[in-house]
């Protein structure tokens, strides 16, 4: 099986020659054709199109982005710790993906709507969600945990790729509401759908690209290519950079350094503007890295190298923004303040989580249907009576 052989074709009319660079690029390295405004060394880079989009971010704003990322990381680490302590059943870390999530999330307007997988705690933060609510489902108390409409932030979706279609449908609804291309910045809306590199293989994601493209729906597909789908490297999902996927469906696509919060902010802002103004969908590939395990149940030592992890640790999204902040005049006290705030936050998260109590078993019969359902009612009644039968000794005989 010659799975690494690359066909060589002459470029000519009628022949689409895909950019096959991705095949030989080792997983985890950067390519040249990546939008970047801030290097791993924390230096600004000029970009003809995108630099303008971060010009209005003054030092205060940059510090805000730093705070976002730092607090989300602290939250994420605390949740991981809580899982280790047996307080959560499972935790999917967003460690390492803070720039992709905060950068894109901060480009959103209040009226925009977001659909995600299960790892987008940073995006949730930008939507004003009380992150502690995310713990509910990983503690086994709730399948959802928050009021999605209150935050324009949909519940996490665990079936990979499904929500890309929900996002597209929601965007089709926005079109029908007339909330696209009015020019009113308080009215025009768009949707962002976040998913991973692995998700791009699911038929549903491709179908979402079809529907979004042919309807010119105001939706941004934000693919966090964190190099891994559990134990499978991105090369198991695509021979070419994922950014090419969007183009194949007629969707303008952009590849961005996902560990560069400024670049993520800029490209997402542009894509959202296009969507809100009626320009249709955009596909963004944010090249980032899952610095932690897939979830707390995972064991990455089985499938990836320490060297690779080290390589990416050098590209930590928070560290590089810190370097920039320092270079642009932020004092140590700022960072100490964030540190202190993080600790208080973590303590609060811990206490909140521990105080959560299990739902009453009878609630399992709630909300199966919005309207009355005789079978559910009968089973609920049976269960209540059955449970009532257990008193003292009798229980469990």
């Amino acid at each position: 099986m010659q799975s690494s052989s690359v066909p060589s074709l002459v470029k000519e009319p009628g022949v689409i020659q895909p950019d096959l660079d991705g095949v030989t690029t080792p997983v985890g390295s950067f390519d040249d054709d990546l939008i970047q405004l801030l290097t791993p060394q924390g230096e600004r880079v000029h970009h003809e199109t995108y630099s303008a989009r971060v010009e209005d971010l003054d030092l205060h704003a940059l510090q805000g982005l730093y705070r976002d990322m730092a607090l989300v990381r602290r939250f994420d680490n605390e949740a991981t710790a809580l899982q280790r302590q047996g307080e959560l059943g499972l935790w999917p870390q967003c460690l390492g993906q803070e720039a992709a999530q905060i950068g894109s999330g901060r480009a959103l307007a209040t009226q925009d709507y977001v659909f995600t997988s299960y790892r987008e705690h940073g995006v949730a933060w930008t939507r004003g969600l009380d992150l502690r609510k995310i713990l509910h489902s990983f503690r086994g108390q709730d399948h959802g945990g928050w009021d999605s409409a209150a935050h324009n932030f949909h519940l996490y979706t665990l079936v990979i790729g499904s929500h890309a279609l929900h996002a597209t449908g929601y965007a089709m609804g926005i079109q029908r509401d007339g909330d696209v291309g009015t020019g009113d910045p308080g009215r025009d809306r768009a949707v962002v759908s976040y998913f991973g590199d692995g998700a791009t293989s699911q038929g549903d994601v491709s179908e979402a690209l079809v529907f979004a493209s042919v309807t010119a729906a105001p939706v941004v597909f934000f693919c966090q290519n964190n190099q891994w789908a559990i134990s499978e490297p991105t090369a198991r999902q695509s021979r070419v950079p994922l950014v090419q996927r969007g183009g194949g469906f007629g969707i303008p696509s952009v590849r961005v350094d996902g560990n560069d919060v400024l670049a993520c902010y800029a490209v997402t802002q542009e894509a959202l503007e296009r969507a809100r103004s009626g320009g249709g969908p955009t596909f963004i590939e944010a090249v980032t890295y899952r610095m932690g395990a897939h979830t707390t149940s995972d064991d990455p030592t089985r499938y990836r190298s320490r060297a690779e992890e080290d390589y990416w640790r050098q590209r930590d999204p928070i560290a590089r923004l810190r370097t920039l902040l320092v270079a642009e005049g932020t004092g140590e006290d700022f960072f100490e303040g964030i540190e202190a705030e993080s600790e208080t936050y973590a303590e609060d998260v811990r206490a909140y989580c521990r105080a959560l109590s299990s739902p009453d078993p009878i609630t399992m019969f709630d909300h199966v249907y919005a309207e009355d359902h005789p079978l559910v009612s009968a089973e609920r009644a049976w269960f209540a009576e059955y449970e009532a039968g257990f008193t003292g000794e009798e229980a469990h005989r």
């Binding site: 709507y113 709730d142 399948h143 959802g144 009021d147 999605s148 409409a149 949909h154 519940l155 979706t157 079936v159 499904s162 890309a164 279609l165 929900h166 996002a167 597209t168 449908g169 929601y170 965007a171 089709m172 609804g173 926005i174 079109q175 029908r176 509401d177 038929g203 549903d204 179908e207 979402a208 079809v210 529907f211 042919v214 709630d366 909300h367 199966v368 249907y369 919005a370 309207e371 359902h373 005789p374 079978l375 559910v376």
Partner: protein, 340 residues
């Protein structure tokens, strides 16, 4: 042409659904139809004939050829406040959308603790008897009834089709709406205006999930839904002439099942035959037999008998009449039950 201006007329089931959809589109601007070829063509069965012309391409949408995409975007539209009615072209083509139905559509209300409703209707022309090729004659209702969160119904005549499609669209829950395609061209007199008004007033109509005693009888109950109701009625006619009084029940709903009506009947007659086209093994008849037996253990004079598809894929058209639970097979089951 407004549906409400029509009055009594003799119409086919296909037309009745068309009028029901039209009324739903008229009454609620959030209602929209989606599916393959439902626009200019009016659907392969012409059930949506004329609707795109009258309501526009935004409300009657020709979708890309992808069932998961249709149902998945319908979920998103429902979250955005719309009431999508999806047409699946044929029963056998619902399966690419099965994941969205089973893991998303059925569970979103529960997942959100009741905060989110998904009032999505999925219309599925189903069943055999039309001489079609593979995948065009299936009866997959059991594959949806087993999943909590879904409602599953099937009208058996034009009047019910007209009413039930509107009730399904009005439901805040997802509804699988199985249309017996072999009955699309059956005609009945319907006073569309009266039926529509009754519906508007929430009055005189039978609930979406209520079974109906179509023919009262005393010796045996025959329960059916969708395409097999007319077979059951025919059997009742023949059996009646031969001295057996058959009570025919049109279940109308497969999830939930109106066991109250069913049990009351069986307590009277003491015998039950269930008829459906789907394979008997793990079919609706199994659930009905199990539950009715549990509740009528001492009234039953004979075991509940099931007449339905065999444990074979839907066969080729030339021999489908032998596969289908036809008049003879229903009569045979009635005889067996009576002889017990």
């Amino acid at each position: 042409m407004s549906a409400s201006a029509i009055g009594t007329q003799r119409i086919t089931m296909a037309k009745a659904i068309n009028l029901g959809l039209r009324r739903a589109l008229e009454r609620d601007e959030k209602v929209m139809l989606m599916g393959q070829d439902i626009g200019a063509l009016g659907g392969v069965f012409r059930v949506t004939d004329g609707l795109q012309k009258d309501f526009g391409e935004e409300r009657v949408v020709d979708s890309p050829l992808a069932e998961s995409g249709i149902i998945g975007t319908a979920i998103g539209l429902a979250l955005a406040g719309y009431r999508p009615v999806c047409e699946i072209q044929f029963d056998g083509f619902i399966f690419p959308g099965y994941d969205q139905i089973t893991t998303q559509l059925a569970k979103m209300h529960y997942r959100s603790r009741g905060r989110l409703n998904l009032p999505v209707v999925i219309r599925v022309p189903f069943g055999g008897g039309i001489g079609a090729v593979e995948h065009h004659s299936e009866s997959p209702e059991a594959l949806f009834a087993h999943t909590p969160g879904l409602r599953v119904v099937s009208p058996a005549n034009p009047a019910d089709a007209f009413t039930m499609i509107q009730q399904a669209i009005a439901s805040p829950d997802p509804v699988l709406f199985f249309e017996p395609k072999a009955r699309y061209w059956d005609k009945a007199d319907i006073d569309v205006r009266a039926a529509g008004q009754a519906l508007d007033l929430g009055g005189d109509t039978v609930g979406l999930h209520t079974a109906r005693v179509v023919t009262p009888g005393t010796d045996i109950t025959v329960a059916a839904y969708g395409p097999t109701v007319s077979t059951a009625l025919a059997a009742a006619g023949v059996a009646g002439q031969e001295g057996t009084s058959v009570e025919v029940i049109d279940l109308r709903s497969i999830s939930p099942i109106d066991f109250d009506t069913l049990i009351a009947s069986v307590r009277r007659t003491g015998r039950l035959v269930v008829v459906h086209e789907a394979p008997v093994f793990f079919g609706a008849g199994a659930e009905i037999a199990a539950r009715v037996t549990e509740h009528c253990f001492y009234s039953l004079q004979a075991p509940v008998l099931r007449v339905g598809g065999f444990h074979v894929p839907y066969p080729v058209a030339n021999i489908e009449e032998e596969y289908l639970p036809n008049l003879d097979r229903v009569l045979h089951a009635i005889d067996s039950a009576m002889a017990h």
